[in-house]
């Protein structure tokens, strides 16, 4: 009986829970139309560009938007240098993280080794995410970005499972970084602008890039060599 009365009271009061305002119909419709047009336009624009390139005589190709070609080449070069630097350092990182718990004597120095490995990894990740953010909206680097993210993700997971993650702050940073890297690693070769936007939004909202920059001591940033 009391339960019934309470249920009635509950229902009456609950109707005011998150009481919605008037639907902003027009505003929402405009947003939907704009978003759908944006999605339609992106692949169409790409096809048109390809078609234009296909029908143009070969000798005219270098004349097409020289600046955008130069910017594209520079971006690919920068990513390539960054990737090269990462792969040169990576075996040392992996070897360090894997070999550390091997002996008791090594345990004493492993703390320093893990810190060095973590700093190296965070520095590489910072360089990569900086390049990635800068290249959003310039299609063509998705495959490379995805491959690089996968490599960094592997190191990130090793570090998360190692004593390097015993520090709560570092662990949280590595966990957040894992999420961002996983999203980039899963990027399709032709991502929608909204997917890219979601990744960069995630980076912004979690403050991943700024936290990486805070975590990496000055002078160790991989961007210094890459850019």
């Amino acid at each position: 009986m009391m339960d019934d009365r309470f249920d009635d009271l509950l229902r009456d009061s609950a109707r005011e829970y998150n009481d919605p305002p008037e639907t902003p119909r027009e505003e929402l419709w405009q947003r939907i139309v704009a978003s759908r047009e944006g999605e339609k336009a992106a692949p169409k624009e790409k096809t048109e560009k390809l078609e234009r390139l296909r029908v143009l005589p070969f000798r005219r190709l270098p004349a097409i938007r020289p600046l955008s070609w130069a910017a594209g080449i520079a971006a690919v070069l920068a990513l390539g240098i960054g990737l090269g630097r990462m792969t040169v350092h990576q075996p040392a990182t992996v070897a360090t993280t894997a070999a550390a718990p091997a002996s008791a004597a090594a345990t004493r120095v492993s703390g320093v080794a893990y810190r060095v490995a973590t700093t190296e990894h965070l520095s590489q990740s910072e360089a990569f995410l900086t390049l990635f953010r800068a290249s959003v909206g310039k299609p063509g680097n998705e495959r490379l970005a995805s491959a690089t993210a996968r490599q960094l993700l592997a190191t990130n997971r090793l570090l998360l499972d190692s004593p390097a993650a015993s520090d709560a702050r570092t662990k949280l940073l590595l966990q957040d970084l894992e999420l961002v890297l996983a999203e980039i690693a899963q990027l399709s070769p032709e991502p929608r602008s909204r997917d890219l936007q979601l990744i960069t939004d995630g980076m912004e909202q979690g403050g991943v890039l700024s936290r990486l920059r805070t975590a990496v001591p000055a002078g160790t940033s991989a961007t210094q060599g890459a850019l």
């Binding site: 339960d3 609950a14 419709w29 947003r31 939907i32 999605e39």
Partner: protein
């Protein structure tokens, strides 16, 4: 609101808590609905707008009730319609279009809220911030405030069913079709949600 029963329970049904539109002017009839869908699929922009106009309030209301935030509710409503228009050719017509739209809306909203919650949890962890929930509860004895907090604290499934049934007036059949569960499951979840709320608000229940 009595669940099920009425022959038109599977087509459009305005919420009982705040009826702003009469069924006759607002409810698309099944035949009209099929025709509308065909026109949308044929690329008729006015049909797209008509379909949007017929369903946007229901979608927005649900998104807002779940999210409790204007920006999020708008984002989820927008995403719902974008998905619906892009997948309309997969709509087989087994259920009413409103139910199909509702299932997209609830999926978009729950996913969006999960994402927000994950981010908030990480940020709270990083700043070592203690949530003010229980303290606020103790400080504010007002039933509505306590009830809002209690609903916020319900497990995701219970909360969705409670909002859809007790707040927005959906039937268990509609909830079942929208959430992809048996109506009996919806009833059970509502029962548990109410029990949980009764438990949380025990001091009010005694009074």
């Amino acid at each position: 609101m009595v669940s099920g029963g009425s022959p038109d329970a599977t087509i459009w049904r305005p919420c009982v808590s705040e009826v702003r539109f009469s069924r006759t002017t607002y409810a698309p009839e099944p035949v009209e609905e099929r025709e509308l869908i065909s026109r949308v699929l044929a690329g008729d922009p006015s049909a797209e707008r008509a379909l949007y106009d017929a369903h946007v309030d229901r979608v927005f209301r649900l998104a807002y009730r779940m999210a409790g935030d204007m920006d999020k509710a708008q984002d989820y409503t927008q995403e719902t319609f974008i998905r619906a228009f892009s997948r309309l050719q997969t709509f087989r017509g087994d259920a009413a279009l409103s139910t199909w739209l509702g299932s997209i809306a609830i999926s978009v909203t729950l996913n969006g809220l999960r994402k927000v919650r994950r981010r908030n949890e990480r940020e709270v962890g990083l700043d070592d911030f203690t949530p003010a929930g229980p303290t606020r509860q103790e400080a504010d004895p007002d039933l509505k405030t306590r009830l809002n907090q209690a609903i916020d604290g319900l497990p995701e499934g219970y909360r969705a069913v409670f909002i859809m049934h007790d707040v927005e007036g959906y039937t268990h059949e509609e909830i079942g079709a929208t959430l992809g569960v048996h109506p009996g499951t919806s009833k059970a979840q509502l029962f548990r949600a109410r029990a949980r709320l009764r438990e949380t608000l025990a001091d009010f229940a005694k009074d």
